[in-house]
Every structure is written in C-alpha cells, then in structure tokens.
Amino acid sequence: MFRGWPSRPLRTARGPLIPRRAVHIFANPARFLSIARPLTPWLGWPGLLLIATGLVSGLFLTPPDYLQGESVRIMYAHVPAAWLGMAGWSGIAVASLMQLIWRHPLAAVAARAIAVPGALFAAICLLTGSIWGRPTWGTWWEWDGRLTSMLVLFFLYIAYIALSSAGAERGSNDRVSAIFGVVGAANIPIIHYSVEWWRTLHQGQSIGLAGSKIDGSILWPLPLTTLGFTLLFAAIVLMRMRAMLAEAKVEARLKRMASE
C-alpha cells in the first residue's frame, strides 16, 4: 500500500541520489539567513544596474528593426518577463517537490516567495506582448497557443497565491499548495512548445543554443536585461523569504510571550 511520501532521500545502489547534506544544508533558517542577508544586495544592485544599462542602450543605442521599426525595443522587457514568468513556476514546482519529498522546511517559504514576483512578471509579459502586438500584428490580443497558455499560467499563479494565503490563514502546513504547484507545472512545457505545435501569430523560437536569428546589432542589450531582471528576481525572492521567516519568528515569539 502507498503510505505517504518517502521520508528518506531517494537512494541509488551507491548511496542517496542527492546527498542528504546537500538538501538539508539550508534547512536551518539561521544558516540560510546568514547567507541570504549579504547575498541580497549583491544580487539586487548589479541586477538594477544591468537593467538600466540594457534598457538605455536598447532604447537609444541600437538601430530600429528593418521591419518592425522602433516597436522592436519592447523586446528588452518582454523576453525577460516571459522567461521569468515560466522560470518562476518551474521554481515553484521544484521547491514544491523538495517540500513534498524531503519535507524541506525552507522549500515552502521559497515557493510562496516566488509566487508573487512570478505572477507580476507573467503580467508584465502579457501587457508588453499586447502593446507590442498592436503595431506589429494589428491586434491587442490573438488566441494563439503561446498567448493563451501564458494567460493560463497567470491565472495559475493567482490561484496558487490565493490557495497558499488561505492555507496560511488557517495556520495549516503548505503541502496543499505544494501539490497544486506540482500539478500546475504541466502547463510549462505547453507554453514552451506552443510556438512549435500551433504556428499561428507568435513567432517561433528565435534564440537557441545553436545561435540567434536576431541580428547582433539589436540583440546585444537583450542578454543584459535578461540577466539583470533575473538577478533582481532572485533578490526579490530572497527579500520575501527573509520577510516571511522574520514574520514567523515574530509570531512564535508572541505565542511564547502569551503562554508565559
């Protein structure tokens, strides 16, 4: 009979699949905080600097596209937002799996911390895409595979946030939202491959490991903003995790004071 999730790490013949130390090294919130606190500004400020550099050079230094004209510049915000919208849910799914399998105490905090900025970047992706679509496609919205699945992802984020905050209100453990995080991850490959499965309006993949179909003269600020937004995203997640841990600490202290 199936009795609960395995409480011990998955094992191979030569030992655990992932060493227990590697998983549990940050299970101690104090140790995690001692690294997260100094790491936050080291991620956040370079991220902001890269975003500023990328956006300024994208807006003023690169030439306009031969076909799309000036409107191509919205790419420098749209592509990082799309990447972070999808990466955010992948992060939620990984953290949820860690929480379900190893009962890692910080994984639940991490998943909840990712949800709000992930939803924000999914919304930015949809908004910038809509604004970009108006001059280039002639429409604000098209029921195209990638647009639809991104919109569904946005609604999944909202559902996840609502579910986890309702669970936190009740003071229950976060395993329910973790289950939803894993189930919702089914949407991620659909978004990723949608442009290949349903070729409608959204262009196919332009940048791959083999090279880029975008000309170098307008491409070069894109990695700057992508890296910058990613670093900023990581800094926001760390800040939110620290805030949540501090909140839990305050609550525990209040409870202790009330019982004394």
Partner: protein
C-alpha cells in the same frame, strides 16, 4: 464486496438520494437557456457557437458540486474511518472520482440532448458533442474531486475552487470544443489524451491533499 466498490456505491447513492446529482444538470440547462438570450435567438448563429457554449456550461456545471464532494465526509469523520481501516488515500480519491463521474457524467450527457435542441445543434454535431462529453467528463469529475480535496477546510473554498479548477480545465475546453467540427478527430484524440492524463494524475494529487489535511 470490496471496500472500493462499497465506497463507490455509497457515494453514488448519496449523490442521487440527496438530489445533489440533479443540481448541476438544472444549472447546465439553465446556462443553455441563458445563452440564446445573450446572443439572440438566431438559429444559424446558435448552431455555430452552441456546441462550444455547451462545453462551457459543462465546465461550470462541474464546478458546482465541488464544495460538497469531500468536505461532508471529512467533517463527519468518514475519511478518518477509511484511513483507520488502512485504505490508501489515493484509492479513496479514485473511488470518489469514479462515484462522482457516475453521478455527473451520464446525466450530463442526457441533459445535453434537450440542451442541443435549445441551441439548434444538428445531429452530427450533437453526436460529436456526446462523444466528446463521454471522453471528457471523467477528467472533469477527477478535477472536481482533486479541487475539492485541495480546498478542503479553507475559508472561501467555493471561490477558491473556481480559481484552482478552471485553469486546469482549459485544455479540456479547447480540445472538446475543437472536436465539434466536421474534421474534429484530431482534437478528439487530444481530448482523450488530456482526459487520460488528468484522470490518472488526479487521484494521486487528491490523495496527497487528503493526507495533508489530516495531519
């Protein structure tokens, strides 16, 4: 009689006894009645969009019973009794899905007959709609039980259930409505694939949620 069959029988009997199985059907027919009011009683237009409207009505009807699929059994301690007897949560969830489908799927397919008359669907479209519903309603039932287990005991569970369930049901709606056209065989196969994945996944997610709600 095995425990699983007993659970299924009990849940089906409860669904039909309380009249709870009737409610989604009335709701389904009500949506089918509202739709012509909203777009006008033009027969050609209704025949064109009616099938999709019925799929949407089926989705909304599947949402309706979500708040009382698991919660009454959890509150009265029946689920704890199952756990004490050593029945796995995944098995209980699967039995509940089967019972919910028996109380939801076939009646919905019958209700689709008068609804298709209201929306002036032709015979061929009706046949494809029924085929699609036969393939898709098990997944709707599975999603319903899973959502019910996930939102168990949360405040505002009803509103939360819609938020949780509808995004996951979008592929069913897309492929179900896509299978209504004359060349809908490809979409029907995709509908079958989606429904199989959801129905296979849901007992595990629902079972894990039931276990999480207990400790």
């Amino acid at each position: 009689m095995s425990a699983w069959a007993a659970i299924i029988l009990r849940d089906v009997r409860l669904a039909y006894q309380g009249g709870g199985a009737l409610l989604p059907l009335i709701f389904f027919l009500l949506v089918a009645t509202l739709f012509p009011f909203a777009v006008g009683p033009d027969g050609a237009l209704l025949a064109k969009v009616g099938g999709g409207a019925l799929w949407m009505a089926a989705l909304l009807a599947a949402l309706l019973p979500v708040d009382r699929l698991v919660a009454p059994d959890a509150e009265s301690g029946v689920l704890d009794q199952y756990a004490v007897r050593g029945l796995s949560d995944e098995g209980v969830a699967a039995a509940k899905i089967a019972a919910h489908w028996l109380g939801f799927g076939p009646p919905l397919m019958i209700a689709a007959l008068p609804a298709s008359a209201l929306l002036k669907l032709d015979g061929a479209t009706l046949g494809r709609l029924e085929l699609g519903l036969a393939v898709g309603t098990p997944a709707l039932a599975a999603l319903g039980v899973m959502t019910s287990a996930l939102t168990l005991g949360l405040r505002g569970a009803g509103a939360l259930a819609g938020l949780v369930m509808l995004p996951l049901a979008v592929p069913l709606l897309i492929f179900g409505a896509g299978a209504l056209g004359p060349d809908g065989m490809g979409a029907l196969k995709l509908l079958g694939a989606t429904a199989l994945i959801l129905t296979a996944l849901a007992p595990f997610a629902a079972g894990a949620a039931l276990r999480a709600s207990r400790d």
